[in-house]
Amino acid sequence: MEGMAGQKSSLTWVVNISAFLLVLLWTIPTLGLFVSSFRDRDQIAASGWWQSFSAAEATGFVRTGTDADAVQVDGRYVIEGTVLEGEQDLVGWGIRAREPAAFAPGEMTEIEDGWQLTVNEDGSYRLVSDAPFEMRRGERIFTTTTVPPKFTTGNYQRVLTAEGLGRAFMNTLTVTIPATVIPILIAAFAAYALAWMEFPGRALLTAAVVGLLVVPLQVALIPLLRLHNELGIGKGYLGIWLAHTGFGLPLAIYLLRNYMVGLPREVIESARVDGATEFQIFRRIILPLSFPALASFAIFQFLWVWNDLLVATVFLGNTREQLVMTGVLRELMGSKGGEWEILATSAFISIAVPLIVFFAMQKYLVRGLLAGSVKGG
């Protein structure tokens, strides 16, 4: 790793700083989502996530109690209560929506019918009248408050305790693991054949694979589901594995073939001369050397299957027993969407497993280097 002999320290600084800036730029959007996933809906709408660590000013209104809450003090009628909750600080208050901060804390104003309203700094209000109150609903007191930064794990609680999430987690794993492993196996063999075996039509076949990369998923849904129904596979795990395998193969073959073409020719030739069969070459030489490529494709396929909702709803169905994680999260968000906090939280929960996989796989990405005998395509 420390191969760069004679590196100037100023260069190291430049590299460090520019790398840091790049990483920062790439992280900011996700950071926004992360911070937002700990805020509640009203706060998300009230201020930017980057301001969530400082106190924010918020306006709102509170209703006073009604005549039922009034008590008689010294012959006058009084309704008392507070306009603040939690750790808010009162900045100003008012009684009309148009002037929500017409009065400072501690001031008194007269509402019609000789009612007198005072709101104090600590948020307590006192509504006083000589005659008994008659009101069908409480008077509105508009408040302008500063709210200290507030974070909640409520969003995570709500998503994690969602009905059926555990089941969905298992379903997703059941879908994802075979749908990752099977295409890799099939593609590795095919890629080896395309890279190192001589046979007519090889170039054409390679190009066909590239061409198939572009087939839009949507055109395949109806014909394939019909095919599954006619074959008697119907909707189920077998169907979705086959579908994901089919859709993932072109990229897998393309990436792996390209990597394998770049493997050192001498190693393979000498193995052939030694009388190794193609299968032995594949198993003993190609597979171990291709590990970084296999690992990177595995990550991509895993991510794609993990985050997929479309293929799952079409080929697996979406009854309670069959729902995958993305399906449950969708249900949580509701048909009309708009719940940013749940979206943000869901995104982070569904990201967790793929990230673990990425970290676990990173070791193998490095292994290609340690093997020391691989060169780039």
Partner: protein, 331 residues
């Protein structure tokens, strides 16, 4: 727990089935044409004619059934009316040429094709090189890679926190508008700013795909033999020269692969546009237009398929380029 065992056993069966096929079929082939004995040469020749197809067999079966068959199905559909009951010949294609939204989509797709693969590959290469020899490189890589792991819907939300618009004077909750207002500008409705909104959408895809480019390119960079680089350094090459003269040419093949792959992702780009603008305000792209006609309102499968065919035809130049490449490598 029952479900768990079901899952485990099905996984085992699926994986075992694959391995069994490759191993078994090779055994059979070796048994039928043993590579020894009096006719060894003849047998090896015959076996090596058949063996590629054993290796390719399952892949061809899957590709044929899951991709080639739907392509022909759409070709057929694209020549028929909305529900496939009447042959209309090239009618759907003629309609497309005259349709304003289709032309807009073609134009936008071209723009996407130029910008996104170039930027994503470039940033990916820079990220791979910069983080490669840093102590915290792996963490940096993971962070750049993270967008890849977020679903498109999630990405849509993330970027709403960037592009969100509030009226001037109100608290901006979109980062970009907050910065703009801080600098004294007026807040903009970024996603409706024709034609710049296209670029705002492209940034999202670049942001996602850079992680892909970085992972592949970084594996390739690490594959460059140390001796080559050390030799260049000993010759007095500056780090920049090493990068551009030695490393980049060495991994040119991989760069081409990354470029091609992202180009194809761009051709299929759908989710981002669907989630963020649904092709309004002049941001329509082919894949989303196709989706519109296939599933929105009263579906017209004929037109949707015609658009899909155009999408697939657009990839032809890339295919030709790849055939040439494969031939060149074909020694």
């Amino acid at each position: 727990m029952e479900l768990f065992w079901l899952a485990v056993s099905t996984i085992a069966i699926g994986v075992f089935g694959c391995v069994a096929w490759f191993w078994g079929s090779n055994m059979v082939l070796d048994a039928v044409y043993p590579p020894r004995g009096p006719r060894a040469g003849d047998n090896i020749r015959k076996a090596s004619m058949i063996r590629p197809w054993l290796f390719l067999g399952p892949a061809i079966l899957f590709l044929g059934l899951y991709l080639v068959y739907p392509v022909f199905d759409s070709l057929w559909r694209s020549l028929h009316n909305s529900d496939g009951s009447r042959f209309v010949g090239p009618g759907n294609y003629i309609w497309a040429l005259g349709d304003g939204k289709f032309r807009e989509s073609m134009l936008n797709n071209m723009l996407w094709l130029l910008v996104v693969p170039a930027l994503a590959t470039l940033f990916g290469l820079i990220a791979a090189q910069l983080t490669d020899r840093l102590k915290w490189g792996n963490i940096g890589k993971s962070l750049i890679f993270m967008p890849m792991a977020i679903s498109f819907v999630g990405a849509g939300v993330i970027w709403r926190f960037i592009y969100e618009y509030r009226e001037a004077g109100e608290t901006q909750i979109g980062l970009l508008n907050w910065i703009v207002t801080r600098l004294g500008g007026d807040p903009q409705i970024w996603l409706t700013l024709i034609p710049w909104n296209n670029f705002f959408l492209m940034i999202v895809l670049v942001w996602i795909q850079t992680g892909f480019a970085m992972v592949i390119l970084s594996a390739a960079l690490r594959g460059i033999p140390e001796e080559t680089i050390e030799a260049a350094i000993l010759d007095g090459a500056s780090p920049l020269q090493v990068f551009f003269r030695i490393k980049v040419p060495q991994i040119m093949g991989t760069i081409a692969v990354v470029w091609t792959t992202i180009t194809i992702v761009v051709l299929k780009v759908f989710d981002i546009v669907f989630v963020m603008t649904n092709g309004q305000w002049g941001t329509q792209v082919l894949a989303n237009l196709m989706y519109d006609w296939m599933f929105r309102g009263t579906p017209d499968y004929g037109r949707g398929s015609a658009i899909a065919m155009v999408l697939m035809i657009l990839v032809t130049p890339i295919m030709i380029w790849n055939i040439r490449n494969a031939r060149k490598e074909g020694r």
